[in-house]
């Protein structure tokens, strides 16, 4: 029935290699890991060619497999570090709030536009540096949530943690990243409040 889509694995690397690699690299931040994930994706796709119904484009189908592989990477990573220091960034909170829970280091005014900022190489570099300073579990949680867009239910399964635990981890990750970016990127734009 209809036009069964044809696929040509020999052309995959040429057609989709850069796209999938860019997709993976933005989400794992490590070139060699991104390369491996792309390779695994193509091999997994080869094995399930018969499942490809041609309802979506070949690229969409491959991207779906790639996304699974990226999540798998974080799943394995979480298993390798059974007990991690989610307490690690508590000191950020202590530096920012006083004992009464009021702001000690107040958030500064940021003058920037996401529409422009995301294209700035330097900003993304600073963001990735800040991310790399997070403990491994916190950064995995943050990346799964904000860069891969997984639901919190799914992330809890992947990292094998409770929802409450995840909320705390995401909170600490965001607090740390916000402060780190403020110091390392927005510092020049900071307008002191009276």
């Amino acid at each position: 029935m209809g036009n069964r889509k044809t696929y040509n694995p020999k052309e995959w690397v040429e057609q989709y290699g850069d796209y999938l690699y860019g997709f993976a690299l933005a989400r794992v931040q490590d070139p060699s890991i991104a390369e491996d994930i792309v390779q695994e994706t193509f091999l997994a796709a080869l094995h399930s060619l018969k499942n490809f119904k041609g309802r979506s484009s070949e690229r969409t189908w491959l991207t779906g497999i790639l996304k699974h592989k990226i999540v798998d990477y974080y799943r394995k990573k979480a298993k390798e570090q059974p007990v991690d220091d989610i307490e690690y960034h508590l000191e950020t909170l202590d530096e920012i709030f006083d004992e009464n829970g009021q702001w000690k280091v107040k958030p500064a005014k940021w003058a920037a536009d996401p529409q422009k900022l995301y294209e700035e190489r330097e900003f993304m570099k600073v963001l990735h540096n800040c991310l790399s300073e997070l403990s491994s579990r916190l950064s995995s949680a943050f990346i799964l949530r904000e860069m891969i867009g997984e639901s919190t239910e799914e992330i809890c399964k992947v990292l094998n943690i409770s929802a409450t635990n995840l909320w705390v981890m995401l909170y600490r990750a965001r607090m740390y990243l916000r402060r780190c970016l403020e110091i390392n990127w927005f510092a020049t734009d900071i307008v002191e409040d009276a």
Binding site: W12, G17, Y21, G22, Q39, L43, F97, W103, L170
Partner: protein, 91 residues
């Protein structure tokens, strides 16, 4: 300065949580009232949303801009070979 019932530290935690789940009603109301009165917490919330949006744009569209990365030639070759080797496996 106490803004209604929640402290800034608690509000930041709830603001973060609100990005991941729907908060219970009393928290939603408490946070909303607090934000109306506290410019720093309200700025904090804007910044978290700002970060979310910037990152989303980066991962979704970054690949179509000058940020786009190329699969390195060696990896390209290696992957091409592994596809070839696996394609010819007898069934």
């Amino acid at each position: 300065m106490n803004h209604w019932m929640f402290k800034c530290k608690e509000v930041t935690r709830m603001v973060s949580e609100s990005l991941d789940r729907k908060l219970p009603l009393y928290q939603r109301i408490g946070v909303r009232i607090h934000l109306l009165m506290c410019k720093f917490c309200s700025r904090f919330k804007k910044q978290l949303l700002f970060l979310r949006e910037t990152i989303r744009l980066h991962v979704e569209r970054g690949k179509d801009t000058e940020l786009s990365t190329k699969l390195p030639p060696e990896a390209r070759e290696r992957i091409r070979k592994s596809i070839q080797n696996n394609s010819f496996k007898p069934k």
